[in-house]
């Protein structure tokens, strides 16, 4: 086992556990206001302190993790579910019109600044977690399509693909049986990166008020709430900030570690 994988896995697991645990237990009710105890710095009772309404920051971050994970998960799912098949299809028909249409479609989506379009979508269809998911998800599709196609193209020139074609296998079957397992590590690394970008994007949308709506807690909105009070209660910005940083760091380390661990060639040479 390598240290990167352990550290990344632990940080990511910590967030998932926090999110799952928030369904059954939080130290305080995350929505309960308690004005007399507002703006407390972290202490024995309120581990991460309280906000300007006296809500417990620790409980809010736990519940906020739920939102972040849900949004990032579904957004990455949309990206993989549509992007990978499109990328495989484009690679199998390299140079043909299918390839052209798919890749130029990708370029079209890439041409728009993703966050601006996400804001546009939420502005038109209304702010909310579901629309944020769709907006972030759409921009994951070309990322995965491109990574998939890029990884698949050199494989198509390899002799084992030729051997499979000689065995009468069609493009779809070869893509699933031979191409996909060989680009899985690429996709896993990309997925963890997109997952962390999804968390960042969700935080950014919530920060401008277009993500999950109150009273659902969200790390981005906690940051937005903290900005006017940052000079008198810095912990209000620091705590959700740290949550975001550690989660993104953890996911990136996890992706790195997984890439090493999943390669059978590396696996045996280490034994």
């Amino acid at each position: 086992m390598n240290r990167t994988l352990i550290l990344g896995g632990s940080l990511s697991a910590l967030m998932v556990i926090a999110a799952l645990m928030s369904f059954v237990w939080t130290p305080f009710d995350h929505g309960a206001m308690n004005i007399p105890e507002k703006l407390q710095i972290p202490n024995g009772t309120h581990w991460f302190g309280t906000d300007h309404f006296g809500r417990d920051m620790f409980s809010m971050i736990m519940v906020g993790a739920r939102t972040s994970i849900a949004v990032a998960c579904v957004a990455v799912g949309i990206g993989i579910g549509l992007g990978v098949p499109l990328g495989l299809w484009a690679a199998a028909r390299q140079g043909g019109w299918v390839d052209e249409v798919i890749m130029r479609g990708n370029d079209l989506i890439f041409a728009f600044p993703s966050l601006v379009i996400a804001i546009l979508i939420t502005a038109v269809f209304g702010a909310g977690a579901v629309n944020a998911i769709i907006a972030i998800g759409i921009f994951n599709i070309p990322v995965f399509a491109r990574v998939t196609r890029g990884g698949a193209l050199p494989l198509w020139a390899r002799e084992f693909i030729l051997a499979a074609r000689v065995s009468g296998k069609g493009a779809a079957r070869i893509s699933v049986e031979h191409i996909l397992p060989n680009i899985a590590n690429l996709l896993i690394v990309q997925a963890t990166i997109q997952f962390s970008l999804g968390i960042l994007a969700e935080a950014a949308l919530s920060y401008v008020g277009l993500g999950a709506q109150p009273p659902t807690p969200s790390w981005g909105r906690m940051l937005a709430d903290a900005q006017t009070l940052v000079s008198i209660a810095p912990h209000m910005a620091l705590m959700p900030g740290f949550a975001i940083i550690l989660t993104v760091l953890g996911l990136n380390l996890l992706g790195d570690g997984l890439r090493d661990a999943l390669d059978p060639r590396l696996r045996v040479s280490r034994v």
Binding site: A163, A164, R165, V166, K169, P181, N182, P264
Partner: protein, 522 residues
């Protein structure tokens, strides 16, 4: 006084012993060949001289190059010696050159580093002239040159500062036979003219037989035998050297077959490739890779196809396999067309299998052996019930153990992987097997084993195959009929022995003359 002395050099990389007590000497103007199979440590010996070893390597012993103790010098001191005192030529000229710099700039770079007294571009021109590139401007990029020309540029870089030692690591392995002969002549001439010591690293004994003064044979990191070339080749002392010599000249006997009906018919096949558009309004041009080729392969016949790189052999292979459409003519197997409008026709495909050159690239690294070699079962209407027995049988047939079925391909050596590739090709008992440079990437002794295996399978199964290769000696022993291909057309065809002993076409003659041969054993 010798130019290079290696005394008891031992080397380990990350704790793995690579070299043990290697000793050799090289006098100025002498040509010494270090030969051996892959993993023998011959390249590591060369890299140790230049101190270009990979990280985590520990060398003990002594390497003296023109009075410098190479193991004791620090990196800046080594940098001034490399390129100035000793130059190096690598195997693959395409990767040894920087693709985004002109060849002039790359040659001039060495001059600028080591000889500030000379004008870099004048010297670059002079050196390129010396290696026979008089007509090539300095402003050319590597991709605009042929493989042989690129290797000449690499040699020019190595000799630009007039080194005393030239190390050539498999300088001709990536080249065609006719180009190989020219490069070898060039290296020999340069060494003689400048009084350079030339250290040749090669796996091919035939290559060095004609040019080396002395030969050092290595195995598993040790020198097993060293001596003057004629003596060593005539009376090899060590059993390994004898085995190596026997393997380089390996002959197999094929069973004779009765006249049969044609199995594969190739009639006037034309294969064009579209070239990329150069201007917007002119239609893209085409490159004719295969030009009206016709031949038959009869059932039970073993046919060879030889030619140099770019002659269209691989293109023809793909067309025969039905992987790509042809622009003219027809290819039929047992009367059925092999290419059926892009839709693979399983009933034709199942009669044909292929073994590729690269034992590392022809298997999906993520699948286990049982899954890999049973891939052709996909061609059958229903997968056979006795799958496990068939796998065990196929593995035993090619000399592997049935227990190997659960291993991954990277757990096998190159030769074993080629056995796996043959097992995969034979598992559905195809009527025609195509060997596409199937032994070209293998060591001589492994190659001899694979050739034996193929001959053995011929005795057992009455195999019909098309053996494609650039290596004439292999084709000569493993086929009965041979076709010589050049620039997309077949220039000569006939009984293998007749073609080799009495070539009619000048190109065939040129090929046979260029192929390096070992002196006949006494």
């Amino acid at each position: 006084m010798s130019l290079l002395t290696i005394t008891n050099l031992s080397l380990s990389i990350a704790g793995m012993p690579i070299l043990r007590d290697v000793s050799l000497t090289l006098a100025p103007g002498e040509v010494v060949a270090v030969t051996g199979e892959s993993g023998s440590g011959k390249s590591m010996t060369a890299l140790a001289v230049m101190q270009l070893l990979p990280g985590q390597s520990k060398a003990t012993g002594k390497i003296t190059l023109d009075g410098h103790d190479m193991l004791a010098l620090d990196e800046p001191a080594l940098c001034t010696l490399r390129g100035d005192l000793a130059g190096m030529v690598f195997q693959e000229p395409m990767t040894a050159l920087n693709p985004v710099q002109t060849i002039g700039a790359q040659v001039a770079e060495t001059v600028r580093l080591h000889r500030p007294d000379l004008d870099p571009s004048t010297q670059a021109r002079a050196v390129l002239d010396r290696v026979g590139l008089q007509n090539i401007p300095l402003s050319r990029y590597p991709h605009e040159l042929s493989g042989g020309q690129r290797q000449r540029v690499v040699i020019a870089i190595a000799i630009a500062c007039g080194p005393k030692l030239l190390i050539a690591d498999e300088p001709t392995t990536a080249l065609d036979v006719t180009t190989q002969a020219q490069i070898l002549t060039l290296l020999k001439r340069l060494a003689a003219e400048d009084g350079m010591g030339l250290l040749m690293i090669t796996h091919d004994l035939a290559v060095v037989a004609e040019m080396a003064d002395r030969i050092v044979v290595m195995r598993d990191g040790e020198v097993v035998e060293a001596g003057d070339t004629p003596a060593l080749l005539a009376i090899p002392q060590h059993p390994y050297t004898r085995a190596l010599l026997a393997a380089s000249d390996h002959r197999v006997t094929l069973p004779t077959t009765a006249e049969q009906a044609p199995l594969l018919r190739v009639q006037n096949v034309v294969r064009d490739y579209k070239l990329p558009r150069t201007t917007l309004f002119v239609p893209a041009g085409t490159h004719r890779a295969v030009d009206t080729v016709s031949f038959d392969i009869k059932r039970g016949e073993r046919v060879g196809l030889v030619g140099e790189s770019g002659c269209g052999k691989s293109t023809l292979t793909r067309a025969i396999l039905g992987l790509e459409p042809v622009q003219g003519g027809q290819i039929t197997l047992d009367g059925m067309p092999v290419f059926n409008a892009g839709k693979p026709d399983l009933s034709v495909r199942r009669k044909m299998q292929v073994v590729f050159q690269d034992p590392y690239g022809s298997f999906n690294p993520r699948h286990r052996v049982d899954r890999l070699i049973t891939e052709p079962f996909h061609l059958l209407e229903e997968p056979p019930k006795d799958r496990a027995a068939r796998i065990a049988d196929a593995l035993t047939t090619v000399g592997l153990s049935p227990d190997d079925a659960r291993k991954y391909p990277h757990q096998f050596s190159g030769g074993q992987r080629q056995r796996l590739a043959i097992a995969r090709a034979l598992i559905i008992r195809p009527e025609l097997v195509i060997f596409d440079e199937a032994v070209s990437a293998l060591d001589v002794s492994v190659r001899a084993q694979i050739l034996d295996l193929i001959a053995d399978l011929c005795h057992q199964y009455d195999l019909t195959y098309l053996f494609i290769s650039h290596d004439l000696s292999v084709v000569r022993t493993i086929t009965e009929r041979v076709m010589v291909m050049r620039q997309g057309s077949i220039v000569e065809e006939g009984e293998t022995e007749t073609v080799f002993s009495q070539p009619r076409h000048p190109y065939t003659r040129q090929l046979i003359d260029a192929a390096p041969t070992l002196p006949k054993a006494v």
